[in-house]
């Protein structure tokens, strides 16, 4: 039995529950007709993050008992890329609406369809030929190292919009005096930023295989998700003391 994969799988699935809960609650919010689409796009971001984490968690749980077959790992990678593109499309579209009041769905959709096409090309061109399970994370190993603009562009498009979007979200803090709005913006933007940075740094890989530190490294992402949950469901003490409302 692979204990590291068990830790990675369980922490990933705990995060999934938080992301899906946030996404579903945001999707059910009552908003005006013109805000319906951006509200759903923001919900799609959280549900997409949850779906991506679920796919990774499922692969890790399979790896507890056996190395998942290559076809399954590659198929899951394509699914993950799709849901991440949808999630980022949702986040960027939502922020564009908040900032401009305009629905920029066409250019942003074109951007992320192109992004998905480039990412899938990158995976195919690398000829994945086996599977590695490292500290509980399951990934394909590529026979060919692909380099050049066709790789750099989609990877930059995958990493930077998230960071820029989180910082852009935080800038909204200074555009309002509403306590509840400020509280949510602060927690959600830094929660998103922390989650992406932790995902990018993958601190579990620095654990050297130590189960405790692996669990700590993986749990940091879960804490970032819980911070976002607190943004929408502040404890009673915070609600009473600072007159901050929970999500309707």
């Amino acid at each position: 039995m692979n204990d590291q994969a068990l830790v990675a799988g369980i922490t990933a699935l705990l995060g999934v529950a938080v992301y899906l809960y946030i996404g579903i609650r945001l999707a059910r919010r009552t908003v005006s007709p013109e805000a319906r689409l951006p509200a759903m796009q923001f919900a799609a971001f959280w549900i997409g993050i949850g779906a991506s984490s679920a796919l990774g968690g499922i692969l890790s749980l399979i790896a507890v008992v056996q190395t998942p077959p290559l076809a399954l790992v590659v198929a899951f990678l394509y699914y993950q890329l799709a849901v991440i593109c949808v999630a980022l499309w949702g986040l960027v579209s939502y922020l564009a609406y908040l900032y401009t009041g305009r629905d920029l769905i066409v250019p942003i959709t074109v951007l992320y369809v192109l992004e998905y096409a480039l990412l899938t090309y990158y995976v195919s061109a690398g000829f994945p030929d086996r599977v590695s399970v490292t500290y509980g994370s399951v990934n394909p190993v590529y026979a060919t190292t692909v380099s050049g603009l066709l790789v750099a562009v989609p990877i930059l498009l995958l990493v930077f919009p998230e960071l820029i979007a989180a910082l852009a979200y935080f800038r909204l803090f200074f555009r309002t005096r509403d306590r509840t709005v400020r509280y949510r913006i602060a927690l959600v933007s830094w929660g998103i930023l922390a989650w992406f940075l932790l995902d990018f740094l993958n601190l579990g890989n620095d654990s050297g295989g130590n189960l405790f530190w692996l669990a700590v490294g993986r749990s940091l992402s879960l804490i970032a998700a819980l911070v976002v949950l607190l943004a929408y469901y502040p404890p009673r003490m915070i609600r009473d003391r600072y007159q901050i409302a929970r999500i309707a």
Binding site: V31, S32, A35, P38, A39, F42, Y94, Y97, L98, T100, G101, R102, L172, R175, T176, D178, V181, R184, I185, V188
Partner: protein, 169 residues
């Protein structure tokens, strides 16, 4: 607001106003910001809620923002009562706007002659006031579309954004 939005933004807002339709928010903000007159949005208690770049150039200290300051602080002591009276007159429903010549005080403490135009913002937009301070030392003031329109447009843009944040954050 940063940058220097050009003629296109001003024309777009002017055209929108002429056609009696709302201007796009970003253009409305640009229109307010690019105005050569110092323009302000004031709370009902005459605290500054927003100020454009011309106002910041004229009145803001290097490290300070104008937002939150009392509008009266921008006027010389001898002119404050005239300024207060002007806004008091705006409380009556049939007085949409007034103007008066007063003395302004720069960030460096120098006083200079200005024309203060005060107006009540539309009830649908805000309960506060708009104010314009035109530097009378300027021998040939630039002809621009109404600063009242610019301030109303900016206020509306701010209000729309505040509503979006309340609804969607």
């Amino acid at each position: 607001m940063t940058g220097r939005p050009g003629l296109v933004a001003v024309l777009a807002v002017t055209a929108a106003v002429a056609e009696n339709r709302p201007a796009p928010e970003s253009e409305a903000r640009a229109y307010f910001d690019v105005s050569p007159s110092a323009q302000f949005l004031l709370d009902p208690d005459l605290r500054i809620r927003a100020a454009n770049q011309a106002a910041a150039r004229l009145f803001a200290s290097k490290d300070g923002s104008l937002v939150g300051r009392a509008f009266g602080d921008l006027l010389a002591n001898s002119s404050r009562s005239s300024g207060t009276q002007l806004f008091a007159l705006l409380a009556t429903p049939d007085a949409p706007g007034h103007r008066v010549a007063v003395e302004g005080v720069t960030a460096q403490g120098l006083s200079f002659p200005v024309e203060l135009v005060g107006f009540r913002l539309s009830a649908s937009v805000s309960g506060g006031f708009g104010a314009v301070l035109r530097d009378l030392r300027d021998p040939a003031p630039t002809r621009t579309p109404s600063p009242i329109v610019a301030t109303e447009a900016y206020t509306l843009a701010e209000l729309l954004m505040a509503n979006r944040l309340r609804e969607l954050v």
